[in-house]
Amino acid sequence: MTSVAHKTAETHDAHHAPMSFWRKYIFSTDHKIIGIQFLFVSLFFLLVGGLLAMQIRWQLGFPGKPMPGGGILPESMAAGGVILPEYYVQLVSMHGTFMVFFAIMPLLVGVYANFLIPLKLGAHDMAFPRINMASFWLALLAGLIMTTSFFVPNGPIRSGWTNYAPLAARPDLSGVTVGQMLWCVSIVVLGLSSVMGSLNYITTVINHRAPGMTWFRMPLSVWALFITAILGVLALPVLQGAAIMLLFDNVLGTHFFDPVAGGQALLWQHLFWFFGHPEVYILILPAMGMVSDIIANGSRKPIFGYHSMVFAIIGIAFLGWIVWGHHMFMSGMNPTLGSTFMVSTLLIAVPSAVKVFNWLGTMWRGNLHLHVPMLNAIGFVSMFTIGGLSGIFMAATPVDIPIHDTQFIVAHIHYVLFGGSLFALFAAIPYWYPKMFGRMMHEGIGKLHFWLTFIFYNLTFFPMHIIGMGGQMRRIYDPTVYDFLKPQQPLNVFISYAAFALFTVQALFVFNFLWSLKFGKKAPQNPWNDNGMEWSLPNPAPHGNWERTPNVYRGPYEFSSPEAGDKDFLPQFVKLPTDRDPVPAPVPAAGH
């Protein structure tokens, strides 16, 4: 036994030997570096997605007018700077694709599952560091393939990020050839990356918790990322399969989704949304988890109803599998099936409501420190609430009829994905920035960014509910074609100005993020006075994290505990005289 331990220690040391720049930062197997790689790449794609959105808003606000800077686009996209209908459809398709698959999903899962799971569990690294590295490089490859589709003949997909067949299955009907194939290939590669990542997260959570880190001592961020990984590993393969079938339809003429030769149009929708709805929860559960950690910290209080928060995550994830049909209420699917999906969809509001009330319960009688992460976390709670509540309109099937496929649903999804996920990221990024880079992001710029974003975000997306009620369909190139939409065109112009302002103020975030890398205040070891395991390490944490596997003595939210003495926090790693050391779990020999 002694010799084994000795050997382990040696290999461990070998890990810490100085490495070349390439091994350390590029082909890294360190979960923290991989998380940071994901962060840079997905922030870049977030910017790309934002640029596409600006062009969409230009066209909707000022249809037919030459776009400023549009002259640099080729004539096949914008003739004389005026966006063409086919390019407009590509813009909406690729905005959704980039934001869902290459910005929000990797920002939440790629970055924070990687970065936080081992640190918060007291683990030295992921269970499979090399698979983890492969997961990042595959994600980057997928992103590059997707980007390439802008530069091929006929450009990228024209059938929405949802790629409804038969439009997406028939090049003669969509007018897209190579772009559609690249979309399918990119999604298959991305799915592989996601599955690899998810298996890693699941294994790590099950096997690599430090002694004393019981299931119900895990922070809600880790719970959420763990459940998200389970969703990912089950959902992505369905999309991959569907994407391969769609690719075959395009390349081999298999007609899986085209009734002209025995296929079924709705089959694509069932497959896509069987993936797509769990995907929605992949995009929100990690945000909920991280926001829970930050709200407890900012309120200096234990999370209200920890156990029910865990069960709500599990409940949402479970119900998330049986609600996909609500995307198809108008599709011609059996109306009785519609009733079933309506019930499950309405039920999923219950665990979501529980979470919101429990966050409020956490803030109640707290001692609120409104630092930038806390401000954005509160922004998340109030905006996600709007997104959740607007979902009820669409869940109630008769009410869905007039608003289905209108701007109302565009408003809804942006309240969930921007008001929800992105605000959570604006909370998480500065919160764990010191752990990543050893420096703090600027507090003043962060606050300014929060308030301006919060204001322009609402001015952009709230009016979309109203033009959606007025009947403006999604993805139409020029709303003024319809007489009934003309009267509300001034509101479209208003939304566009608000969107431009929203995009512009993001420069504050970009500046703050980059400037602080070099000039940010040096971070103290525990800048937020938090309880998490990660704050027992220096900033940034070294490769391998802890020299010795740490012990965990309590739950993650012991803020203002009477046992904490004159402090208002009691970290998981602090041993009080009354604490006993946990019995270490049998650790598999690490030398394998």
């Binding site: 109803g305 109306p335 309506m342 109640w364 609120l368 409104l370 008769p398 009620m469 009934f484």
Partner: protein, 229 residues
């Protein structure tokens, strides 16, 4: 500028608009509760030196209450919704006396087929009009939706009616217009680059007007003329 749903133009609009309003009130109450809570707590419990947060892990009673209230509300909402959903979309709800027309969608136009003088769809005296939908007021009409190529969606905002037209499927959407006049039919499902201009004019006639229009069109068809714009 309109700040509400379009004017009501069919028998569906009444219950749908009432439900919309009811949900708006319910969600409005929930929203105000949450936002007022957030703002109040931010002001009232803002950190002050020397103050300590109240140490609690939660309250089972509070959690049971705020789990049960949304659950009961959602179940009730589901029951009411389902009643109208079945009425609007279920196959068995199509009134037996409905006037059947064919609505065939293709990139990027609507082809509306009317039964000829025999009053039956699918016979040789049917005639087809492009991008014009004529219906009588206060009479149930059943649109038999089909598609030539990709998925389109039949959407008349005033009627609160939306139904996809799917290639390979035959879907019946019924409605009863309550207001005469001219409206618009749009495509609500992305169907390609011309999606935005897949628009048809909708005319709701009095029964007499409608009869006259039918006779005139049928005659024009019989004379070999195509009834189109």
């Amino acid at each position: 500028m309109r700040w509400w749903l379009p004017d009501a133009g069919s028998t569906f609009a009444g219950p749908i608009d009432t439900m919309f309003l009811a949900i708006l009130i319910l969600t409005g109450i929930a929203l105000v509760l949450v936002e007022v809570g957030v703002v109040t707590f931010v002001i009232r419990y803002r950190a002050r030196p020397g103050r300590k947060a109240f140490y609690t892990h939660g309250s089972t009673r509070a959690e049971v209450i705020w789990t049960a209230i949304p659950a009961v509300t959602m179940v009730a909402l589901g029951l009411v919704s389902n009643h109208y959903w079945v009425l609007i979309k279920d196959k068995k709800s199509v009134p037996p006396n409905a006037y059947h027309i064919g609505v065939h969608a293709k990139q990027f136009e609507w082809q509306i087929t009317y039964p000829g003088p025999d009053g039956k769809l699918g016979t040789s005296d049917d005639f087809t009009v492009r991008n014009q939908l004529h219906v009588p007021v206060n009479e149930p009409v059943a649109a038999e939706l089909s598609s030539e190529d990709v998925i389109h969606s039949f959407f008349v905002p005033e009627w609160r009616l939306k139904q996809d037209a799917v290639p390979g499927m035959h879907i019946i959407a019924w409605f009863q217009a309550t207001k005469t006049g001219e409206f618009e039919l749009g495509c609500a499902e992305l169907c390609g680059m011309g999606h935005y201009k897949m628009r048809a004019r909708v005319f709701v006639h009095t029964p007499e007007e409608f009869k006259a229009w039918l006779t005139q069109q049928a005659a024009a068809q019989g004379a070999g003329g195509g009834g189109s714009e």
